[in-house]
């Protein structure tokens, strides 16, 4: 129902757009209306880009809060650089790799740099946004994939090696798989559906994180003979700030993925997104309480993110009930997944793999299980897409990070890890004024 209204809305826009702007002076009445609608759409997309931008602050805070004080400068630096480098890389070549125009469906490249074509600033480019808005929104998305990796490899990775990997990952791997679906490639033709990127963004980031964590090994002291030993994050307030900002940012991430300000479609997406987030938080808190005896804040926070990642693939296809179910299940999944990765001795300080990879896949499959598109056929498309992108990304990360490991090394020395990367990589402390406790007990 919504779908059809949305299509109607878009087609009207498109008609208006074509007849519109360019011959402004001739037909003032029509035009101005089209102008207004275009301006609203574009405004929403710009705001959505700003909201996705703020997710980077969210990630920075979450990752800092869930790791140790002695590595905070390093994590902050990585997050600051990811957004900077991400935007520049995406402008230099990422955008044109992801949206190559007409192409073979697997790989295309429209050249270096970004310039709007003749119609780039009018609704003839797209009824929903200008070329610049398009770029900005997509660039903010792209950088999130690298940020996801950043959290998982925290507290032990060499700064230079990480940044190198981030550039390659954001600049090449993410856009290629992105082009398969959002660039109009073979997956989109196969009818794979990934509304705002449970697979294209989150699982992609998660695969990168998984491979890096495997090649990197756990932090010193994380797994002992007697089992997993937690290394508590140093600031729960920062972690909480991070998650609230991520939820806020997701309004732009999912809401902006409608690609217009269509009232019905966007508002539905915001509601399903919020419901899933809320259900994810409640789900994780409940499961954590039942399973572990105490309501664990960091699990509740992960649960919210899990719900958000879970709904992302089908945010525009779900009813409120679907969204709550998806969120609730995501919240439960994330708790068990965190425990499982502990068993597997894969050390992920912030739970990024559980949240983004595991729930990303779950969310992708959920499109075939819940909501307007549910059905076996769709489910098979979803699985196929998730697998295809998973294989490509994992291989890419394996080769890229493997080569970096061979050539430059990826892990800081034991002394540096013990003393903290802040001193080792930056000769600087995050909190020079505060007495920190004896951490190694």
């Amino acid at each position: 129902m919504i779908g059809s209204k949305y299509i109607l809305f878009c087609s009207i826009l498109f008609v208006l757009a074509i007849t519109g702007w360019t011959n402004t002076v001739l037909a003032q009445d029509e035009i101005s209306a089209a102008t207004a609608v275009f301006a609203v759409n574009n405004l929403w997309l710009m705001i959505a880009a700003a909201l996705v931008f703020i997710m980077h602050l969210g990630f920075a805070m979450l990752e800092t809060g869930l790791t140790r004080a002695k590595n905070s400068v390093n994590i902050l630096f990585k997050n600051v650089m990811i957004i900077c480098i991400g935007v520049l890389t995406y402008a230099a070549f990422g955008f044109n790799l992801m949206y190559p125009g007409d192409f073979n469906g697997f790989f295309g490249f429209a050249g270096f740099g970004i310039t709007p074509g003749e119609d780039g600033l009018t609704s003839a480019y797209n009824p929903g946004y200008t070329y610049w808005t398009d770029f900005l929104f997509q660039a903010m998305f792209a950088a999130t994939a690298a940020t996801i990796v950043s959290g998982a490899v925290a507290e032990r990775i060499k700064l230079g090696s990480f940044l190198l990997f981030a550039i390659i990952f954001v600049g090449i791997s993410y856009p290629i798989t992105g082009s398969w679906q959002w660039g109009g490639g073979w997956l989109s033709e196969m009818r794979f559906y990934d509304f705002a990127g449970s697979t294209l963004v989150h699982a992609v980031g998660g695969w990168g994180a998984l491979i890096c964590v495997m090649l990197l090994g756990p932090r010193i002291g994380r797994f002992t003979k007697s089992g997993a030993r937690p290394i508590p994050g140093h600031s729960m307030p920062l972690a909480t700030v991070g998650v609230f900002l991520l939820w806020l940012g997701w309004f732009g991430f999912n809401g902006g993925s409608v690609l217009s300000a269509d009232p019905g479609a966007v508002s539905l997406v915001l509601v399903t997104t919020s419901i899933a987030a809320a259900a994810g938080g409640v789900g994780a808190a409940l499961v954590a309480s039942l399973r572990l005896g105490k309501p664990d804040l960091s699990m509740a926070l992960n649960g919210i993110l899990a719900g958000l990642v879970g709904i992302t693939a089908g945010a525009d296809q779900m009813t409120v009930l679907d969204a709550s179910s998806i969120g609730l299940i995501s919240g439960a999944i994330v708790v068990f997944s965190v425990l499982m990765f502990d068993k597997l001795k894969l050390d992920d300080p912030v739970g990024a793999i559980s949240v983004h990879l595991v729930c990303g896949i779950w969310g992708t499959l959920a499109v075939g299980l819940f909501g307007a598109k549910a059905g076996l056929e769709q489910l098979s498309y979803q699985a196929a897409g998730a697998i295809a992108i998973g294989i490509f990304t994992a291989l890419f990360a394996l080769i890229a990070f493997g080569l970096i490991k061979l050539i430059f090394g990826v892990r800081v020395s034991m002394e540096e890890e013990t003393e903290g990367l802040d001193i080792g990589e930056h000769a600087m402390e995050a909190y020079p004024a505060f007495q920190t406790l004896i951490s190694e007990q």
Binding site: P230, S298, L339, D342, I438
Partner: protein
């Protein structure tokens, strides 16, 4: 002159302080320490894994007094502890000899300087 070093439970500082005041002992110094003793370590849980904290938060009191006050101090501290349940980890008192004491402000030394 003796230096009394007491390792105590953090929540007992307030009553101990009052007990000392009643014995007219007004001056002391206190610092944060972590201690390992007999007491069961604490469980905390983080991201689903519970773990033991073996170094527990304690306070370290330093009270320099003249001989005659030593027993007062020891009593004051032990009395407070007595009111509370007899769990392990209530701490220790160590008494060390002081050879000299100087009041920085005036340069006074010896027994008069201590109080």
């Amino acid at each position: 002159m003796k230096l009394i070093i007491a390792i105590i439970e953090p929540q007992e500082l307030a009553p101990i302080r009052e007990a000392l005041m009643e014995h007219k002992i007004y001056k002391f110094t206190v610092g944060n320490v972590l201690g390992q003793g007999l007491d069961l370590s604490k469980h905390e849980v983080y991201r689903g894994v519970s773990y033991d904290i073996k170094l527990l938060k304690k306070l370290r009191l330093e009270i320099a007094v003249n001989e005659e006050y030593v027993s007062h101090v020891v009593d004051a501290i032990c009395d407070v502890a007595r009111d509370a349940p007899k769990e392990a980890g209530r701490g220790k008192i160590f008494i060390l000899p002081i050879e000299e004491c100087v009041r920085i402000r005036t340069g006074e030394t010896g027994a008069v300087a201590i109080g």
